[in-house]
Symmetry: C2
Subunit: 408 residues, 2 copies
Amino acid sequence: MKPMGALPPEFLLQSGAFRIGGETADDWASQAGDTPLFVYDMAIVAARIARFRAAMPAIDLHYAIKANPHADLLTAIAPLVDGLDVASAGELAKALIVKPPASISFAGPGKRDDELAAAITAGATLNVESEGEAARAFAIGDRLGLTPRMAVRVNPDIELRGSGMRMGGRASPFGVDAVRAAALVTAIVAAGADWRGFHIYAGSQALDPGAIVETQAATIALAARLANEVGAAPPLVNLGGGFGVPYFAGDVALDVERVGDALAQALASRPAILRDTRFAIELGRWLVAEAGVYLTRVVDIKQSQGETFVVVDGGLNHQLAASGNFGTVVRRNYPIAVAARIGQAATDTVSVVGPLCTPLDRLGDKVALPPVAVGDLIAIFMAGAYGASASPSAFLGHPPAIEIVTRG
Amino acid sequence: MKPMGALPPEFLLQSGAFRIGGETADDWASQAGDTPLFVYDMAIVAARIARFRAAMPAIDLHYAIKANPHADLLTAIAPLVDGLDVASAGELAKALIVKPPASISFAGPGKRDDELAAAITAGATLNVESEGEAARAFAIGDRLGLTPRMAVRVNPDIELRGSGMRMGGRASPFGVDAVRAAALVTAIVAAGADWRGFHIYAGSQALDPGAIVETQAATIALAARLANEVGAAPPLVNLGGGFGVPYFAGDVALDVERVGDALAQALASRPAILRDTRFAIELGRWLVAEAGVYLTRVVDIKQSQGETFVVVDGGLNHQLAASGNFGTVVRRNYPIAVAARIGQAATDTVSVVGPLCTPLDRLGDKVALPPVAVGDLIAIFMAGAYGASASPSAFLGHPPAIEIVTRG
C-alpha cells in the first residue's frame, strides 16, 4: 500500500454523504450523460476567493486562467476577482469576453507579433519579458497608432524556497533580470508607453507560509529598489502567486491568513516610493484545484500476479498530472476514492489505471480503497487546476472529458 | 553544454542542404502559412517499412496508430502494412476508413461496452484483456447477433530487457497472466468466438537487438506452450513490437537486420503446433518517429544571468516528450538544430524554450548550436511519434500545431 493525499476538507464537510455542489457523483454523471467528467464546485472557488479577501483585504486578486480556462468557470470567477492574467492570444480572447481590458495582463516569454498586436489593440497590459519584446511592441503600437500599456516582468534575484517550480533566483526565460529592469522601464516611459508597473514571479506551488512571506517581503523591497532606480512609482506591483495546494500525503494546506498578516505588516512599513502603489497577487491553482473532482467509471477489475487493477474509463489523457507525468519527478498518489463509499473503511489495496495502452496511465498506485465494483465511479480530487486543459486529450483517440461547473 | 541526440541520418543524406521531402524548412513553413508545424516525411516512413520487409520477409507488419494517428499519414501507411492496431473506438473509426476490419485489432485494458460493440459490429479483432472483458464482449455479441473475433492478450512472464517501458514480466493491467491464458482461450472457443490467436507485448523502446531477439524467442515459446495447453494452433501470434529509436546522445539505432535473422532462425525451429501460425510485429514509434520534424520559429533571444535563451513559438503543448515530461525520468535533449544552418559549426550554448509560462517548457537545455537569430526556424527531430497527438495542445491556449505529410 502506498499513501495518497488527503481528500479536500471542503467535500468532507458537505452533509455526511459525498456530494459536489449538493449533488452526488451519480447525479453528475447522469447529468453529463457519460463519463469521464470534471465537476468544478463554484461554491468552493467562491469560498477560496472570500478567504483570500478576508486574509488580504488590501491586495488585488488576479486569476491566472491557465490553471483552468473553462469558459463557464471563467465567467463565474471573473466578477469575483480584480484582474485576469493570460498567457496567450487564445487566453486573451477568453478573458476579454468576461473582463474589461484594463484588468487583463498578458505574460509569456514568447509572445508573437500577432499576440502583441491583439493585446495592444484590446488595451490589455503587456507584461514585457525582454528588451526585444518591448521594441517589437513599440513597433506594432506605432503601426496601429496605439499606445501600449506595459508592465515589466522582472526575473527576481529571489527564489521561492520550497516551491514546486522555481521561477526566480537564477537564469530564466521569464522577465528581464532585475539588474536591467529599471533601464527597461526608463526606456518604456521615454518611448511613451503607459507604464503599469512590475510583475515579479518567484515560484509556484509552495506550501510553507514562511517561504512565501519571505519572498513577498523581498519582492516588495526589490520593487522599491527598482522604482527608486527609475525615479517613479509603479502603479501596480504584481507580487506573483506561488500559493500551493496539498496534493500528496503529508502535505499541509497553506496558512493563508499568516501570509496575509505578514504581507500587511510588510506593506505598512514599505518604502515611501511605493506609498500609492497597488499590489496584486496572481493565483491559479490555489483558487480552483480543490474545487475540481474528476469522475471516472470502473470498466473492469482484474487480477495479475497477486495485484488488483481497477481499470477506469478515464486516464492521463484527461488528468496527466494525477498520473505523475507532468512536472513531478517522483510519482505520488493524488487523493482518490470510490465515490459512493467515501468514509468507509479501506479493505483492498488496488491500482487504479486508465484505458490507455501505456504503463504511464496509472491514476492510483497501490492505494487502499473500500470495496470497488465494475460500474462504480472513482473520484480523483485536486482536479480543478491543470487537469483537462493541461493533458494530452487526443492521445489514443478517446473523447475529451466532459466539464461541468456547479452553480455555486 | 549538454549533449543532444544525433540528427537522423535520413535527413543528412538528403542532398547537402537540409531538406524534408526535398523542400527546405522555409518552404514548408511558407506552405503551412504559419508555425509551429510538424512535417512527416513519408519517404522515410516508406523506407523504414521496406527495411522491415527486407529484414523480416515472413512476418506481418502492423502499424500501431497511437504513435501517430494523423489522417493523411494513416492513409499513406495503410496500403504498406498488413494490419493496423488501434486502442480506442476513436482510433478504430480512423482505421476503418483505410483498412478492412479483418486486418484491424483493438487492444486496450479499459474497453468500454460501446467500444466493444463498435469493434464487434465492424468485424475488427478484439485483443481481449481479461476474463471480464471477454464476458462483456460475448454479451454484446449475443445482443447484436454477431460472432466476435477475439485474440487473447497475454501478460507474458517475460520482460523486455532494457526497454523504455516494460509491459511484461510483472503484475500488469495489460492482458491476462500467462497462467490463465489457455483457460480463457478455451472458454472463448467454447463460447463460439472466432479465435484469432495471441497478442503478447513485453515492452517498448528497446535499442538492444539482443534483448529483442531473446524476448521474441521467449514469446514464441510461450505461444507454443499456450497453444499446446489449448490444444489448438493460433492463427496469428502478434509478437508485440518494442523496436526503439535513438532519441538521445549515445543511443545506437536498432540493428533490425540482426533481429530479423534471429527471428527467422527461431521460427525455423518453432514447435510443431505453430507450424501454420502467422506472426506479426506491431510497430509505431520505429516506423514514424524519425520521419517527423517539428519546426518552430524563434520569437526572441534573451540573456539572463549569463545564459542565452532562444524563445520559440512552439513548446510542450505540441511536443511534450521533447520537453522531457512524458515517460522519461531524467530530461535529455532530443536532436535539435537551426534549420538553415545544419552542418555549420556550433558557436553558442543556448537553451531553447517555448512560449508557455512554465519552466517545464524547455525543448533544448544548454545545447550547442550555430548562430541563431529571431525569425530563424528551429528543427526538433524524432518528432514523428508521440508528438502532436500525445501533447497537451490546449494548455495555455495556443493554436494546435499544423501537421503536413510529404507526398513520399
